[in-house]
Amino acid sequence: MNLASFAVNTLSTTMVYALIALAVVFVYRTGRILFFCVGEIGTVTAYVMAEVWNWAGQTAAGLPIAIAAALAVDIAIGLLLFGILSQEKQEDPFLGTAITIAVGIILVGLMSVMWGSSVEQLPLVKGYWTFGGTTLPLVGFVAIFLGALTVLSVLALFYWTSIGIELQAAAENRQLATLNGIPVGRRVLMTWIAACALSGVAGVLAGSVSSISVGGSAIGFSGIVAAIIGGLTSPGGALAGALILAAGENLISLFFDVRYSTVVPVALLLVLLTVRPWGLSSRVERIFRT
């Protein structure tokens, strides 16, 4: 592995983790819930997309249908999560987190019933790019481009549109936001759907870079750790966390063995919990962490 392929690998992994971490951050900001089933949602989306695209014969015309099917799955899961969590009126954030864990188990069960242990491919882009003597798969570049585009547009939506500002207001003080006429319930539903769609994009990108399998849901844990490194409430911190994590994992698999790359998020998390539980950013916020 040389520098160019290391950079492409690291950046495409960063994009996957960043998308997941953004989903985690948005959900945490609105409801203090740690979104545990991100990886599972991503994998389900990727499976559905691969299945529909295979059914359409892997043609360019089939791609919009596949994307629409994948989005429909994400919207359905978002609605389901919102529906379940709005039943829960005990104001205990850990309960909500446990419910997302339960949804994760259900999704894993669903996947093993429907697809068993089959490993699917999602060849979004075929072909290679020879670059200064090294041949790199084109799909890596496409993943980086699509991921960056999604991340930037989501951040722009969050910071520069009225809907994004309303979301921030609802996260900061729900009662005050309601008094100011912000439809908080609708905004929370929107956050859930957006978070599911973000994890879906992450799952599809991860699936097209490598392959889709039930075990691929492990990307969710890395994404959550990336969000925690960033302090769980800051989108910028989540991006930094994703980059640190992806670089660490790829360095380990470069110098040691791919098997040990799972140690990186664990070690980072342990260091963080003992030294800086509030994450990288030392910004003092009104948002309390449970």
Binding site: L34, I101, V103, V113, P265
Partner: protein, 333 residues
């Protein structure tokens, strides 16, 4: 935690009550023998589940420290048993002692590293432990047994070989009794009250001079040691130790048991453990009735139903159902 204060009874009433309890316990212990080997097998598996579920419900419910590290502690115990037996030729009792020490050690490490966090972050910290132990266990499994797992013979308890289902059930029931009595005593004792106060009113506990550091290390070390010992016994019951057994899913099954049984309720944990054991049987039977090939998809279906049960338990569905039934019942005249 028990809801009210313990009711003081006269000596005679107390004696009568304990006699009734003893008879009930004896009947319950004898009951599985009537259902043959399947009944005994289910009784042992449920008992082993409840042995680890009781410490967890104390940790999560009484002390308010959510943990996803149950499978990791079980794994520590099981691998201690496997390595001691295969590499050193030692039996179950040495494994129990060593794994208890390792459980205390790892519990203390977890408690000290997560002292500054609570709630969600604590759960994430224990999840990190789960991942770390999983990686180490997979590595040990690969290097020492070429991923075929450690094989364990039938254990000996003080010269008595535990080689039949009856003996396993007696051992399990005895251990369940000991664990239940220990935690019941602790919950009523000043130690358990300290844990509960730290959970519900941390500031008041601090004002009363209760040390959070000491208390947390205490509860983590104790529960981890017991869970690790249960890991040893469970491993001997299975006869085979593999890293793949002790996944996050197992930890979540235990969390589901605690949620289903009501946080902090020991008897609830036992009842929920048996529900969890009977559930896959019921699913298999149901699928068999519908003539669906259950063998390949059973794990997935089991996962789905465990998830649904966890959600229903978390949303307090049983309690709501009871409340609804109470409303419908015609008033007594």
């Amino acid at each position: 935690m028990s809801a009210g204060l313990p009711v003081r009874m006269s000596g005679q009433g107390k004696r009568a009550q304990s006699a009734v309890t003893l008879i009930a316990v004896a009947v319950i212990v004898a009951a599985p023998c009537a259902f043959g080997s399947l009944g005994l097998h289910l009784a042992v598996s449920g008992g082993l589940l409840s042995l680890a579920a009781m410490p967890l419900t104390v940790l999560v419910g009484s002390a308010g420290l959510p943990s996803l590290g149950t499978a990791a502690f079980l794994c520590i115990g099981a691998f201690t048993a496997g390595i001691l037996s295969n590499s050193f030729g030692l039996g179950m009792l040495p494994a129990v002692i060593v794994s208890a020490l390792l459980g205390i050690l790892s519990g203390t490490v977890v408690a000290t590293t997560t002292l500054r966090v609570s709630g969600l972050y604590l759960a994430v910290g224990t999840l990190a432990l789960q991942r770390a132990v999983g990686v180490i266990a997979t590595d040990l499994d690969l290097k020492l047994t070429y991923s075929s797992g450690f094989m364990l013979d039938d254990p000996n308890v003080f010269g008595l070989p535990i080689n039949s289902l009856q003996r396993w059930w007696i051992l399990t029931a005895a251990l369940m009794f000991v664990v239940y009595i220990t935690f019941r005593y602790l919950q009523k004792n000043h130690v358990g009250r300290e844990w509960a106060l730290l959970r519900s009113h941390p500031a008041a506990a601090a004002a009363l001079g209760i040390s959070m550091t000491k208390s947390r290390i205490q509860v983590f070390a104790l529960t981890s040691a017991i869970i690790a010992v249960v890991g040893v016994i469970g491993a001997y019951n299975l006869g085979n130790v593999q890293a793949g057994t002790y996944t996050l899913d197992l930890a979540i099954v235990y969390l589901t048991i605690c949620a289903l049984g009501g946080a902090g309720y020991l008897l609830g944990a036992i009842a929920a453990s048996y529900l969890m054991v009977l559930l896959p049987q019921a699913i298999q039977m149901g699928l068999g009735l519908l003539s669906i090939d259950a063998t390949s998809r059973a794990a997935g279906v089991e996962g789905i139903s465990i998830g649904i049960i966890l959600i229903l338990a978390l949303l307090r569905f049983p309690q709501r159902l009871v409340a609804m039934l109470r409303l419908r019942r015609p008033p007594r005249v």
